[in-house]
């Protein structure tokens, strides 16, 4: 009678536990604040620099002198402290951690809310604030409340142009923006087993959008094969009669492409409902959908054609970019008229490049469509890379199934 969270954290749901963490990471945004707190705590060198990473992804490359100065300071600290440092261009923290750093069964904390992405490996991965991160640098550990768990039971296989992102928008619609507050999600069933690692990363990534602390898959054959490609041997996990607080079922077979409409993430509807909505920008990227497979699906639709609206594509990491170059899909994307950004978060957080203007309407593969987030006075819809591609070609919202 143990959920995966209970097993990894080593405590019953509802209890508080102090635990050493296996991986801790922050990015250029939260890392600056964590360093500030670390110094105020009297910290000099982190307890265990080998387990700590700083990954520059939020404003890369720096957009002005203030940002550059802050990044300069944190870069110097990282190098002096012997922390694993990933500079501008390496990619988004969650993606970098998924490329051979994080392993099943680990306790992972990141100073970013989408740290739950790494639950795709069967790790307990959760976001914390910057001062929490500073204390973790100082002591190597932190406290957790062991969460209750909601089972998200996936049946069947995705078909046609429907993707893991559509299933993600569906479970968030079903749970609501706070439907899983303080809780963990476990993605189970034959549908979960059928998902490739990339789809699992997308589904775990958005657990936070239902308020969840973590979103976990059991590590299995798919996980082992993915990690084996990165030279890592991994253990498989099996469910141990877990006791769930709640269960929801999603039939992947009968899902259609989905949108989340402004300004909430739990507003999932079939794409057709908003078909024909004129767009000013399409954005493909982020820790939700900036992986190679996402870019490939996008490229397969736009190849040989021209987008009708400005379209920004940002690979999630350097290795994604490298693969997109070597397989030629990046050329397809560029020749279709898209603009390419440095691997990183891109316009998702509304801090630089690709921000929308007042009154503009955007379509994005990101995880949040909060009011004013990606541009003051703009509206944006969330969707999958295939929907983004069909819509970019049409200049308006369009289902990939009608393409």
């Amino acid at each position: 009678m143990t959920t995966l969270s209970e097993k990894i954290l080593g405590g019953r749901e509802g209890s508080f536990v102090d635990r050493k963490v296996d991986r801790a990471f922050a990015h250029d945004g939260t890392g600056v604040l964590a360093l500030d707190s670390f110094r105020k705590m009297g910290g000099e060198r982190p307890e265990n620099p080998d387990n700590i990473s700083i990954i520059y992804d939020h404003i890369v490359p720096a957009n002005n002198s203030t940002t550059a100065d802050l990044q300069h300071e944190l870069r110097n600290f990282s190098k002096d402290a012997g922390i694993n440092f990933y500079d501008v261009g390496c990619g988004i923290c969650h993606q970098v951690m998924s490329e051979g750093v994080c392993r099943p069964g680990e306790i992972v904390v990141g100073a970013d809310s989408h740290t739950c992405t790494l639950g795709a490996f069967g790790a307990f991965a959760t976001g914390v604030g910057a001062t929490d991160m500073a204390a973790i640098w100082e002591t190597g550990e932190t406290w957790f409340k062991v969460p209750e768990t909601i089972q998200v039971n996936l049946e069947g296989k995705l078909t046609g142009h429907t993707e893991a992102k559509d299933a993600t928008l569906e479970y968030i619609r079903m749970l609501g923006m706070d439907g899983a507050s303080y809780m963990a999600l476990e993605f189970t069933g034959s549908g979960a087993e059928s998902l490739p690692m990339e789809g699992r990363l997308t589904m775990s990534n958005m657990a936070i959008e239902a308020g969840a602390k973590a979103g976990l898959f059991y590590s299995d054959k798919v996980t082992a094969e993915y990690l084996a490609h990165l030279g890592i041997e991994s253990e498989r996990q099996a469910a141990e009669n877990p006791s769930y607080a709640k269960e929801i079922d999603i039939d992947l077979e009968n899902l259609s492409p989905m949108l989340a409409v402004p300004h909430r993430v739990d507003t999932g509807v079939p794409v057709e409902k908003y078909a024909g909505t004129a767009l000013d920008q399409v954005f493909v990227g982020t820790c939700t959908n900036g992986r190679y497979e996402d870019l490939k699906r996008f490229a397969d639709i736009v190849r040989g054609r021209t987008v009708k609206v400005r379209t920004v594509v940002v690979p999630a990491s350097r290795s994604v970019l490298e693969k997109a170059v070597s397989t030629g899909i990046l050329l397809d994307i560029i020749q279709a008229g898209c603009a390419i950004g440095t691997p990183g978060c891109g316009p998702c957080l509304g801090m630089h490049m690709g921000v929308l203007g007042e009154g503009e309407v955007g379509l994005s593969t990101a995880n949040r469509n909060f009011k004013n987030r990606m541009g003051v006075g703009a509206e944006y819809y969330l969707c999958s890379p295939s929907t983004a591609a069909a819509s970019a070609l049409a200049g308006e919202i369009r289902s990939p199934e009608e393409n």
């Binding site: 508080f16 705590m41 009297g42 203030t66 809310s113 604030g129 001062t131 509304g350 003051v376």
Partner: protein, 157 residues
Amino acid sequence: MEERGKAVCIGEDVDTDMIIAGRYLRTKDRKVWADHAFEDYDPEIAGRLKGSVIIAGKNVGCGSSREQAAIALKEAGVLAVVSPSFARIFFRNLVNTGILVFETDEIKCTDGDEVIFSADEDRVEVGGVRYDAKPISESMKEIIRAGGLIEYMRKRR
């Protein structure tokens, strides 16, 4: 020891982008965050935060983990945040910033209502009505009493 503050009432699902917009994060100047707190939600709120208690609808602080949201409130002089439910990272950040948190039933409130509360008790009085709050752990109370996680860690050294 009892403290008193004036209620500032906000709605449900107010996310951390609403509390401090991303465009103000490119700095370490805490005053900037305090000055622009809630700007995209209601620009009138920032001027009323000194000595206030935020009475929020459910799921306050959802979204981004940005600690600047909690720091902005602290810097602006917010004494406590009361809500039927907190997004968990924001909850942790409030505690770590040294701001009192009270998780209660939904509260009907009007801006300016007197709020009476105590760091030692798990209840809060808003406009003359008492509400029981979910108890928080002793270690969270210790962090709040110390004035935040930074001060708590300094004491532990």
